[in-house]
Amino acid sequence: MLSPAILVPAVLNGLMTGAVYALISLGLTLIYGVLHIINFAHGALLTAAMFTAFFAYKVLGLDPYLAAVPLTVLFFALGYALQRFVIGPAGHGDDRNILLVTLGLAIVIENALLVAFRGDTRTINLPYAFDVIAVGTAFLAVPRVIAFAVVILVALALWLFMRRTDTGKAIRAVAKEKLGAELSGIDVGHIYAVTFGLGTACVAVAACLLMPTYYVNPTTGNAFVLIAFTIVVLGGMGSVAGALVAGLFVGVVESLSGLYLGESLGQIGIFVMFILVLLFRPSGLFGERV
């Protein structure tokens, strides 16, 4: 059972899946790091993005990888608007209220999709969906390799954005010291909305990376976002690097536990890990104290 011929492909595939998890978690952790709220609508936004990618292909014939570009812009705008015009004003700056508003958004988005498209599961068929490339003894699906590469690129771009641009610096300033940032003339409401937009844009990219090999129905996003919660907590709430490492780690754990325990038990494994981390190390494996 422990022969490298089985282990290596499992680990590699886990890393590929983990990369997409990491991207979804990146959005979540970014929002938490700056706004200090858990965005419970993250999963519903992922589902919405997957539906958009689905229809972009079905109606416009747009390949999901190409659709990623307009979708990123679209979902950035959507996230920006949600924070600026819904979550911000409705939350009155109270954490409990903000929690409820994001939960309300999740309920609305998920069920509006259910009303519009029923519970049917949809997939798209792409000619390259089943192509594989051989890496040593392992065969890797091409869409997963692409996903892995894109995630690394997005993470790098995000890192550069945070380091090099004025907006990125402002975001980091607001995350560190909101009042101080405000006093030095940073428009905190705008920065909050930009951050929320960036987090939502991450989800749009992830949706386009998932669509070639995955299915979509109105609850698809929930499965991913619970894993993303795990990753965000594991990586330390608000830590971008932590989310990346924890995302890859969880991907591998899932792949291995799926191999040895079976699919549904593998899922429980993630949750048990999540609860244990929340209970005993809520600051995460890499994070600072809560």
Partner: protein, 327 residues
């Protein structure tokens, strides 16, 4: 005593409904609304009074429902006994989750997350474990005798759920007037201050969570008896966690009548939606989600808060009036 009088009046009014109408539609609507009010009252004690927002009250509701059903179906236990055990089982789950999370100091977003995760774990386990009937669910055998807690007509069910709601109202009212209740509100307002004044906040939260879970579990037990069928998606599904928090928040979190008021309003809205737009799955939840956002945005203290504000304004107007001629 005056505190309990208002509860007596409300319950007596509701109890008279079956004497006025025999319509099954009306009774069924009220049973479901009262069920939501009951589970919402559970949430209200922990969330409304204690400020600990749980996103996973399904964990307790589902445990009560499954305990009642499984004890009857698999072990031939009497339904009434099963009902009682179900409540105890729900309370136990609440105590365990509460002990684990409050000891680790989880609050705010973290507490919401961990309760959500526990409900999800239980849902996944229930959807694969053989004892719960896995994906098929558990069907309680039809046995229309009062001894088996099943009845020909809906009226006895209505009185039972009303009785449960009445008990929950009294419990919450008594807690509100007690030292325990004062501590609970104190730690909601400022946990550090409460701690500094010598309140054992962990213990108080744990107590609130256990009672809260027991009330929610009673709702689950009743659900199993009333519908005679449960599966993982019903028992541990997110819908009940959502309704549990929606009712008190709409009605007024941290008030005795908030959950009942909220449940009636929310369920009326749900039914109205169905009448207008047909029975599309998910449509009522879209409305609920919008209501949740609107309430938080424009009336954070719920309908009870709006009523209170209106009354204060009215009183202020009244006290102004006699002075006007002199001025």
């Amino acid at each position: 005593m005056r505190a309990l009088a208002s509860i007596a009046v409300v319950v007596a009014l509701l109890a008279a409904v079956p004497l006025v109408t025999a319509s099954n539609v009306v009774l069924n609507f009220l049973v479901v609304a009262l069920l939501t009010a009951l589970v919402g009252q559970g949430w209200n004690l922990l969330g409304g009074y204690g400020g600990q927002y749980s996103f996973g009250h399904a964990a307790f509701f589902g445990t009560g429902a499954y305990a009642t059903a499984i004890l009857q179906v698999r072990y031939g236990v009497n339904a009434w006994l099963g009902f009682a055990v179900g409540i105890a089982a729900g309370a136990a789950v609440g105590a365990i989750i509460g002990a684990l999370s409050f000891r680790s100091g989880l609050k705010g977003s973290y507490f919401a997350l961990v309760t959500l995760a526990f409900a999800e774990v239980l849902r996944i386990i229930a959807s694969v474990a053989p004892i719960t009937g896995a994906g098929v669910g558990t069907l309680i055998k039809l046995d229309l005798r009062p001894e088996a807690l099943q009845f020909q007509s809906r009226v006895p069910f209505y009185w039972i759920i009303l009785g449960l709601v009445a008990v929950s109202l009294v419990i919450v009212r008594m807690i509100e007037d007690s030292r325990f209740g004062a501590y609970l509100v104190a730690l909601r307002e400022n946990e550090d201050s409460a701690k500094a004044l010598g309140v054992n906040t962990t213990l108080i939260k744990l107590g609130a969570m256990t009672v809260s879970a027991a009330i929610a579990a009673a709702g689950g037990c009743f659900y199993a008896q009333y519908f005679l069928f449960i599966d993982a998606g019903i028992a541990y599904g997110p819908w009940i966690s959502i309704e549990a928090l929606l009712a008190p928040i709409v009605g007024g979190a941290g008030t005795v009548f908030g959950p009942l008021l909220g449940a009636l309003v929310v369920k009326t809205l749900g039914e109205a939606t169905k009448l207008v737009a047909g029975d599309a799955p998910g449509l009522d939840l879209v409305i609920y989600g919008c209501v949740l956002i609107l309430i938080v945005a424009f009336a954070p203290s719920g309908i009870a808060g709006l009523l209170l504000k209106a009354r204060q304004r009215f009183a202020a107007l009244k006290s102004l009036r006699p002075e006007q001629p002199h001025g």
